[in-house]
Symmetry: C2
Subunit: 333 residues, 2 copies
């Protein structure tokens, strides 16, 4: 059901009947470590390349999510998944073993909320019975795709992000126990002209602000109607910028305004820079810590605004600016 | 409305109220040349890189599709688009100027039918008013991504495909004149263990066969209920293989079984090898030639099974097999 031009409301309240998170060692050592289902100390996940490691991690999260929803992967009617690697290989290759009807999606680090939005729509419109949504990233695959191989040990500015080694998946169904997915706001591509790939927080902040503003307008709510509003991975540089831009537009995001990239790591962990990023970051923070707060009744309604920088290594080399996007999803307890 | 496990039926019959195709010189010289809206002789489309050329071509197709549907891009409620380049940059960057709510999708060369399937669902479930779906590819961006820069002039085996320089877009609406989108079958990821990236037709054939079989089962139809069944880009190697596999499964695909990759070029054009490929190939063949036959009443019902090889340059280097997918969409006059 359309509410405003960019927002869908799901009157049937699709439920998250199961979800799972698998992360790397560094994420396990962060403040949310105990909330994740599996922490893997081996960056290779027993494989011989980081790319194969990422897809194994993603597969483990998918199987565990299905299991926690009391299903097998074979019961899943649609998979909606994506990642950050060229040609979405983590999502596609992890889909080989279970071979379910597959919809590949891409919104960079905002991928999980595009998946949730479409998954909610499939359930709400009675076009699927059990949708699996998911996203993944791996620090070492992202580093060698976008920057330098981790083995090289290149230095980074403090505005950089640390791509999370993290994969998460959730099962959506029309009925069952679990938090409900009640709305989704599909973001627009917004480009403020930033060309520096070390400034992704600043580049993505305007997209997050635009999506939050549009979401509040469409739903007729204020930020106080949410117990928590989390951006995806703006980090310690981009998040204050987003707050400032919101204040300038007359929206006080208040104390409940936080960021998954900030939540994922302790500030004093080595090389986390301005915070976590990667499609896995917002995914595992949402599916562990944020959903748990809903399940425990500590929060009644939260909004997660996943943010994505839609650049590629090649667009950076060609001197292009960084188009960004943010998709928001409302979860209710 | 679900019909079987993998197929959606759209009872409201979303209409294609406008569509547009923009192609390169080689595609313009092929047998379908006169059916395309724009043929651009300059491979750079006036830009200074092939990647920028591709996004300009894609933007032109999108604007023209909106115009032919008597809308401006600003009227479009959702864009669902994808391409073959790393991090989907042609779709994302072409979205900067119009900045509409954006859903990035990826199914390699099957992307356009994933876009159509989701677009049909958005219209049918009343969650969008005007959806733009589209996909693009450019020979020179694909060549330097997956093989060698075109300037290098590397030799290829006859089983190779020629990635089309082609972009297409269509506007879907609940009402209006134009062919209707009545069903979509979402494919599964299928991997027959082929590792040779010059054998993509053979790699993709099993996915096309699986999707056609599942589609016929779900709809209770036979191939004779379609005036035409076109695979995406199996080419002159993969298409006969698909025919043979279908016959072995007791399905005679008959004379109306064709392939967009074969249709796009004349066999005697230089360096077309086994036929066209790339997300743009199936897109522009469908949106020009195939839809025209529906509009003119020569065909009443057609099925297009877009095929995608979900590999990346890196998975080839790592010796991986090639997972493939095929999504089918029914169009009716």
């Amino acid at each position: 059901m359309q509410v405003g031009k960019q927002t869908w409301r799901f009157p049937s309240r699709p439920r998250i009947t199961g979800s799972a998170t698998v992360v790397g060692a560094k994420e396990g050592e962060g403040p949310l470590g105990s909330w994740f289902d599996e922490v893997e100390r081996d960056a290779y996940f027993g494989e011989n390349s980081f790319e194969k490691a990422e897809r194994i991690m993603f597969e483990r999260a998918q199987r565990l999510a299905a299991k926690k929803a009391n299903h097998s992967m074979e019961d899943v009617s649609h998979v909606i998944a994506g990642d950050l690697l060229a040609q979405n290989i983590s999502a596609s290759f992890s889909a080989r073993t279970h071979s379910r009807p597959h919809l590949g999606v891409f919104s960079a680090c905002a991928t999980i909320m595009e998946s949730f939005a479409l998954g909610g729509l499939l359930i709400d419109s009675l076009n699927s019975e059990k949708v699996l949504v998911g996203a993944s990233s791996h620090n070492s695959t992202a580093e060698r795709t976008f920057r330098y191989p981790t083995e090289y040990g290149g230095q980074k500015p403090q505005t950089a992000h640390c791509t999370a080694t993290a994969a998460g998946a959730a099962i959506l169904e029309a009925k069952g126990d679990g938090p409900a997915l009640t709305e989704a706001t599909i973001g627009r591509v917004i480009d403020f002209g930033i060309t520096n790939p070390w400034e992704m927080g600043a580049a993505m902040a305007p997209a997050a602000v635009d999506t939050l503003r549009v979401h509040l307008q469409a739903t007729g709510r204020s930020v106080l109607d949410y117990d928590l509003i989390a951006t995806g991975d703006l980090g310690r540089v981009g998040h204050p910028l987003a707050r400032q831009m919101l204040l300038e537009q007359g929206i006080d995001p208040g104390h409940q305004f936080t960021d998954c990239g900030i939540l994922l790591y302790n500030e004093n962990q080595p090389e986390v820079f301005s915070g976590g990023s990667g499609p896995g970051c917002c995914t595992v923070v949402t599916l562990s810590y944020l959903l748990k707060k809903l399940k425990e009744g500590k929060n009644k309604r939260i909004l997660v605004i996943a943010t994505g920088a839609l650049l590629s290594p090649l667009t950076v080399l060609q001197g292009d600016t960084i188009p960004c996007i943010a998709h928001a999803v409302t979860f209710e307890g």
